[in-house]
Amino acid sequence: MNRKGLTKLETALAALFVVALILAGVGWLQPVRESMQTITVTRTVTAGAQVERTITQTNVVTSTVTVEKPVSLGVFKIAVVSDIGGRGDLSFNDMAFKGGDEAVKDFGVQMVELISKTEADYVPNLETAAKDPNVNLIVGVGFLLSEALLQVARKYPDKNFAGIDTFTQALAVQQLGKPLPNMLDIVYEEHKGSAMVGALGCLVAAYHNEHGGNYPYIGGVFGIEIPVLWKFEIGYKWGCDWGLKWYEQRFGKRAPLIGEDGRYGSGPGWSEGLYCPVGKGCWYKGRVLWTYTGTFSDITKGYAAAKPMYEQGAVAVYNIAGPLGLGINQAVQEIASEKKLQSGPPYWIGVDANQDWINPGFIIASMMKRVDRGVYYATLLTVIGKFKEVVAEYNGVLTLGVGTRVGRLEMEGISVSTLEDLNEFIQMGVNAEKLTGRKVLPMPPEEIRKNVAEMRNKLPSWVWDALTELESKIRSGQVEVPMVLTKDAVDSWRELLG
């Protein structure tokens, strides 16, 4: 039998192979047809523009500016595709779904969720959503989805796509020569928020030093050293400097210890604890202790980095490494239980979400990056039919920050946490508890509110005044927080600020 040609199994295998080849052959044809469709669709879009009724080119211009689509929705769906963090991460993804929920409430749209379990899920998840005829907007959460968004947004030109923190349009320009007309990267002015919490941190140190504390530093624990994080780092350091200068003006003297001490440096350029290189002004250099841990996931490294900072006298440590905040919290908690403290110092500073509830009384505030607002605004723009217009106007990149506006609409995305928005985030913790069955909240919600309020009230009002002033000055453009994106820039700022 062995020599008599093919055995039955070989025949079966060969048949299978042929079937597979045919199937794959269908696949070869498929994308060709697809891309031809794409071309025609794009053509009709550019000729007919956004408003379906337009007949001539001139009409387009006038009508798109003034006419807003009436909100007659019927089935109008938005899809939110998470990155691998998924639901229950209490940060990025949960915020995005929260924004979706708010859009559902306010605009009467429906939201569908797709959780990505691995990086291989991004494209199929986005496609699944895009294929549904009722889905008008697909939001990808997190920069990891940038490539996947490019691939899928290109294929479905009649659907709107938005990405939180993505750089899809930069990729599009690189690969296609121009941005996609249906894709909106939503990014944030983290440097401004970081400046605000930096000022807050240094002023809190000044306040405690006034009352006999020994806090010559604030600290920052960063993740992997990628350009995005430079924005946080320099913003934070710059904010501290601004805060100490504000103190000087307000009280007519240097802030105690952190503002005057000679420990920060000596030699050329240094005078009385300030670093004044020729022609570049004077700076409170070296007030920030900072470490890049090289990880966004290893919580123990957050602890290892924060612990020595507190030992050296950092009044607060800023968490710019996602879950590593829990490691910072552990370091704080250790000191707190050792000294039997009910509230800080030491403190830490939260990031992305309002993290104040994680350890109430020990977190001064959080630099909030409102991912939820991003999803909400993208939905809003889709609902009122202005999405593609905004994409065209901003080259596909919408920056949400302090005092940012799109047309007549205020679209802010960066703020320092307040007591008022604490409730929404406590609710997020409650939901996560339901979802995961794990205990998330450290104490009952009422107690969290009470502790956070107590801590805030204990700090003098001038600390909060300074924060308000900085925010309004940023908003009005009176002060400009440096936005650092290149190695050269980060080096020159580190030279000034330490």
Binding site: A24, G86, V112, T128, E147, I226
Partner: protein, 356 residues
Amino acid sequence: MIREFFTGLWRAKVHHKAAESFVAVLVGLGAGALLMLAYGYDAGKAYTALFAGAFGEPEGLLETLAFATPLILTALVFAIGVRTGLFNIGAEGQMYVGAIAAAYAGGMLSMPAGIHLIFATLFSMVAGALYAIPVSVLKVYRGVNEVVSTIMLNWTAFYLVQYLITYVLADPTRAERAIPAAITARYATIGASLTTVFYVSLAAATLTYFIMWRTVAGYEMRVVGYSQRVARYAGIPINRSITISILLGGSLAGLAGASQVLGRPPHWTVFATMGNIVNLGFEGIGVSLIGRNHPAGIILAAIFYGGLVHGGRYMEFAAGVASELVRAINGFIIIALAIPGLFDMFRRLLRRNREI
């Protein structure tokens, strides 16, 4: 000829096996349905969405095949092991090594198109085989059980590769992943996430079949798998068969890793979390059991499994089934399907023990 084909199938009890698998599918689907009913979901709607999404349209089918591609390869690794009497679960670690080797050869080297792709593919296969050498050496010279050595080496590979991605092969502009494969080292995209690496995996399955059933070495390996005593009596070099089995497996595992780097858009690389390759090796064990440790069965099983992976998102999307539950349901189906294969394996093990 055709009659011969069917009587052949009949004699090989393919109809028994098919019936068993069919019952297993029903049992698995039933268990999943019960789970959905318990949580108040519409099971009918969910399953319709699952299968329509995974197999009902060309795009979905291509996506399903893309998910099936690496599973075919890692399942072959396990199947070759079982056929040689080994419980080789080293595909996971060898696959990591193959992936990082592909990222290195594809991303760091520059070569003319075509040659680059072939070189990167072969390079990762060699890397996977090299990483399998300790397993075979320990087995042959020291009698170390392959389960123990592969489990340990899987973790070694995990951390080694993670280190390499983070510190050696990191994409300078994107710290979260290794440098992507150059365009010259990418398989052509067929559609959706499917690339021509799929053909390579089919070819590998065919080749494995011919090696195992049509060559002397393969015959010897299978005899070793049936009974080492018989093999020794027949003068078959047992150690050589075991070594071939493990190294052949290693190269296929390496290819599986390469398939995710050189053959999967849009990233063409491996992430520092390794989330896009992790578990493909272990899932291959299930696929191999479903496919009765035979290349033909494995191809079908991998496509089925890929369909569950891809179609699962439609259950979530169309029927609102929570994504965690989708995984649980898929798990039920897979366990039910693997049970006949497991019986096969134990039956064989028992028979071998009786002989001894």
